[in-house]
Symmetry: C2
Subunit: 396 residues, 2 copies
Amino acid sequence: MALDLTPFLSNNAKSMRRSAIRDLLNVANKPEIISFGGGFPNVLTFPVDDLKQIMAELMDEMPGKLLQYGSTEGSVALRKQIAKRYQKDGVNVGIENIIITTASQQALDLLSRVFLNPGDTVLCGLPSYLGALQAFWSYQGMPIGIKHDEEAEAVVSALCAIGKKPKFIYAIPDFQNPSGVTMSLERRKEILAVAKKYDILVIEDSPYKEIRFEGESQPTMYSLDPERVILLGTFSKTFVPGFRLGWVLASPEVIDRINVAKQSADLCTPIFSQEVAARYMEKDLYDKNLAKTIDMYRQKRDLMHECLTKYMPEGVTWTRPEGGLFLFVTLPEGYDSKELFEIAIKENVAFVIGEVFYCNGKGQNTFRLNFSYVSDEDMIEGVKRLGKATAQLLSK
Amino acid sequence: MALDLTPFLSNNAKSMRRSAIRDLLNVANKPEIISFGGGFPNVLTFPVDDLKQIMAELMDEMPGKLLQYGSTEGSVALRKQIAKRYQKDGVNVGIENIIITTASQQALDLLSRVFLNPGDTVLCGLPSYLGALQAFWSYQGMPIGIKHDEEAEAVVSALCAIGKKPKFIYAIPDFQNPSGVTMSLERRKEILAVAKKYDILVIEDSPYKEIRFEGESQPTMYSLDPERVILLGTFSKTFVPGFRLGWVLASPEVIDRINVAKQSADLCTPIFSQEVAARYMEKDLYDKNLAKTIDMYRQKRDLMHECLTKYMPEGVTWTRPEGGLFLFVTLPEGYDSKELFEIAIKENVAFVIGEVFYCNGKGQNTFRLNFSYVSDEDMIEGVKRLGKATAQLLSK
């Protein structure tokens, strides 16, 4: 007979929430389903031949290093390459400002561990990235959402008044997941002013910043206040997610705290993939490949926009982001995307319901569409199916 | 001016302890120092050519899969190979009993997260593996040590009497780190009987089990009570540590809890290295390479034993383990290995002081020597230097 685990579970375990996206991906795993669900990059963007070549090269040059334990802070060569990218943008950073993580999700996890006590509040967007909310919840943190950045000061002030000052503000300023919205420079400065006034840390989650289709790039919040802002970067969207490589850019004090937390979390991130990524950047291949990725995703965003315009019934709206991987769709008030999901799955098309991105349990009439992963052919067919499913829902 | 982080830190962060080993490795990083410190495998055991070949093969066959996101529970192919190894030993397990982790350290972290509330006790050895203690501490758990397995029942009973029943018993039954001691079958059964009587989970950390030089292999504690025991395995000592691949073998209920915790910890372990490891095992290369590794480490253990016998002053004793990577040395009562370390570093030889493995702060007259990493030449020279340093200490 199976042992009942309930009496053994920690409060953290009871507070954890299963990822609706991961569970959804299992539902949507059938080959006949066209999925706009996950935040997967397109496999055609993977630089397979270059990576194969570099792997062989490095296995000849430094097999002992590649296959051995690495340092907790990560490969010096890779941190140098990452620092260089920020330096190019005029940001004064060195490798002492960088620690490599097992992708951004680990950075969110370690930061939550280092900063959150049970019941501590975190300011985030309504909607916001589910993986971040999961990390906060798994340490019994309490994400508090704001619908517009302009509400930040009022909400922080109210939380302070009841002794619940947020430990940090969690922001995704560029092509926010899931909304696709980008913060203007003015808004970035306003949020930082609130953080400074109330003495709150800021986590700038920056996975999509380099995937800009048009318009002018905004400075990172980190560059505007490098003492207070902790920036999270990742190669998962701009290079390959399979290596699980991300980084934290922050003050040496923050980096040191994350280092100690990471020692007991997984000791170090695989050195093999770190050295491959470093060499790939040293060869100046990264930017060339990224430019092609951006072109592809821009075209895919346009195609999805076109298809939605063509196939979606009246009353449905969506964002048209200047970059990133997602569109965010809003149904007319009163309709529930969970119901749409049920219909859509029967039509063999999938997406992520918006509700999971709302820490306040709202957002029922919204959902997220990923446009990077599927082929153009599938996108046209998928949006057609989705339009049909939506028409069914609205005619109810 | 740097921001003072202290007011922001969580109680978890305050409870974390820096790894003395990782810090020591930084001290011992100079090329002139011969280090018996880390638990590093010997680079000559890495199957470089085979891995290079497999990487190229898989990059041709399935690049899209290798470089994309994987599932949280890990590669099916790899879990099948791992299950097969246990099945060969007559243990009835399937892939539903296995989740891949970013090496064993992550398993220790996730299990601590799922089971430990602040103040919860864990029964462990005196001494015990530092990385495990770090994981317990980082969730404000309280490791309680026992010097001999026979003390388990008395200590558990005493803890229960004060309402502090351990959440789990943490054991390394084969070639324990750092002591090198292996539990007899009888002892395994006794510990399991205590766990059953008091209804406590057991974590069986099993990184060295397959590295046996002589004597008879004992059954895993997991095979004796698969509902209660959670086994941790890793490729870090038997294959390559650089891939950061480990696994948990447990009931599907435990696996599911770890899965949810892992979703917010790092989403998934790199799929690339998982598929490479799976293919390596499918080709029956794993056991062949392991046999060579065992031969090499047996010879190195013997050489270290010989050198210690030759160069160590009278009154110093050490273990002669039947497997694993470490010898554990005891100085005469009253001497402190921290002082020895200071002298040894000047002599350009390093080790890990025993104190860090003792959750009760004791063990001052002990230290750990790794025999897998250094060349035979360095081992002879290193132990010679260590003998000289020890003689200096004892003559004080």
